[in-house]
């Protein structure tokens, strides 16, 4: 048994409670509200409803009342682990994907236009005594990736951010540098993350995300797939002339031990 597991299994913290702990502290520390967190669920569901494969997945999983949602729908859905509601939690589905990575010489000669890996970063984090649970390993992996790519968060057209829960996205957006730590709640307000608001910053999870298209437990591959679709002009919620995308995956658990991977993608 892992020593950390030997120190926490007795407390009955569910997976959702692990993330809820981050959300609660974020609310306490920065005044973030459930309504602000709900913006993330609403934007991704809007994108999901435009993606026939996401709608099909929700039908197959027997979602009730499959439609676009409102902030009120989200905050009035059933509480699973305070303060996270049902519609702030990802779906549980099957899924799989693959990417082909090739040398520039090979990539230039393929049927599809190449998408370039411009930068990458990785980091890990664990719960330190006295540490800040609202900051994830993305605060290390993000800057590495942006530095290597020579671009800034403000230049991103697309943000494919691991959305296991609403709070995951909020914390990761801050850590990646889209806004200062603690200001994510205000930053996402007013539908900013929708694909049809390109002047407001990146479109979030335009395939419908883990919240509303698929989540097989580890959905990092789908972040890369949809970012690639956007950069090739093939998304069902296409951002006009999308040139740059960030894909960020969070593995493990946000509120305890986790690992982070950031990849910046671009096109010719």
């Amino acid at each position: 048994m892992h020593p950390a597991e030997n120190m926490d299994a007795y407390a009955g913290m569910t997976l959702i409670a692990n993330y809820a702990m981050v959300a609660h502290r974020h609310m306490h520390q920065y005044g973030t509200t459930s309504e602000q967190l709900a913006e993330i669920s609403v934007a991704t569901r809007m994108h999901a409803m435009r993606n026939p494969e996401a709608v099909r997945a929700m039908e197959d999983l027997e979602f009730l009342d499959i439609r676009e949602t409102t902030i009120s729908d989200v905050v009035n859905s059933r509480m699973i682990a305070d303060p996270l509601h049902l519609l702030e939690c990802c779906m549980i589905s099957d899924g799989g994907g693959a990417v082909v990575i090739a040398s520039p010489e090979v990539a230039r000669d393929c049927r599809k236009a190449p998408v370039w890996i411009l930068g990458s970063g990785e980091a890990t984090k664990y719960p330190m005594s006295g540490g800040d649970i609202t900051t994830s390993a993305a605060a290390q992996s993000g800057p590495q990736a942006f530095l290597e790519a020579g671009v800034t968060p403000g230049e991103m057209d697309i943000a494919m951010i691991y959305d296991s829960f609403s709070i995951t996205v909020l914390a990761l957006l801050e850590d990646l540098g889209f806004c200062p730590k603690g200001e994510g709640g205000r930053w996402v307000e007013g539908g900013r993350l929708r694909f049809d608001r390109p002047n407001d910053g990146p479109a979030l999870n335009t395939d419908g995300g883990g919240l509303s298209s698929n989540h097989p437990g580890m959905r990092g591959i789908f972040l890369l797939l949809e970012a690639t679709r956007q950069l090739r002009g093939e998304s069902t919620s296409q951002v006009a002339d999308a040139k740059l995308a960030v894909a960020h995956g969070n593995g493990g658990m946000l509120g305890s031990r986790h690992a982070a991977g950031t990849i910046i993608l671009g096109r010719d």
Binding site: M1, P3, A4, N6, M7, D8, A9, Y10, A11, G12, M13, T14, I16, A17, A20, M21, V22, H24, R25, H28, R78, M79, I80, A81, D82, P83, L84, P127, M128, S129, G130, G131, I133, G255, S256
Partner: protein, 137 residues
Amino acid sequence: MNEPKRPLPRADEFDTQAFWAGTKEKEFRYQQCTQCETVVFYARRHCTGCLDGELEWKVALGRATVYTYSVVRQSYHPFFRNQVPYAVAWVDLEEGPRILSNIVGVADPLTDVSIGMPLQIEWEEHDDLCIPLFKPA
């Protein structure tokens, strides 16, 4: 059929056995680096702050506060499913260690737990060790 029980730690797990041995005496043991003074918890072989300082065992008195918490409404675990709603929390002991535990001794966890709330340790007794739980101070 036996009632499902709280999942218990292994008292002989290598890194954490000294902590669990202490709980038998209702003593909360943690480590601190003699070089950089980083509080290390759970127990480790190395300092998580400077990596090479020597770790010294200390005892926390059991006064604590809620760093953050959640109230679990839904669990599939055979023991915990019968406990809902219950509060799980990251708890900061006054001396510095942060531990995951449950808040007990509240009439309604949905309304009676808050971040920053003062706590006192309450040991739940088992055969080979005691589980550190926390109640309002």
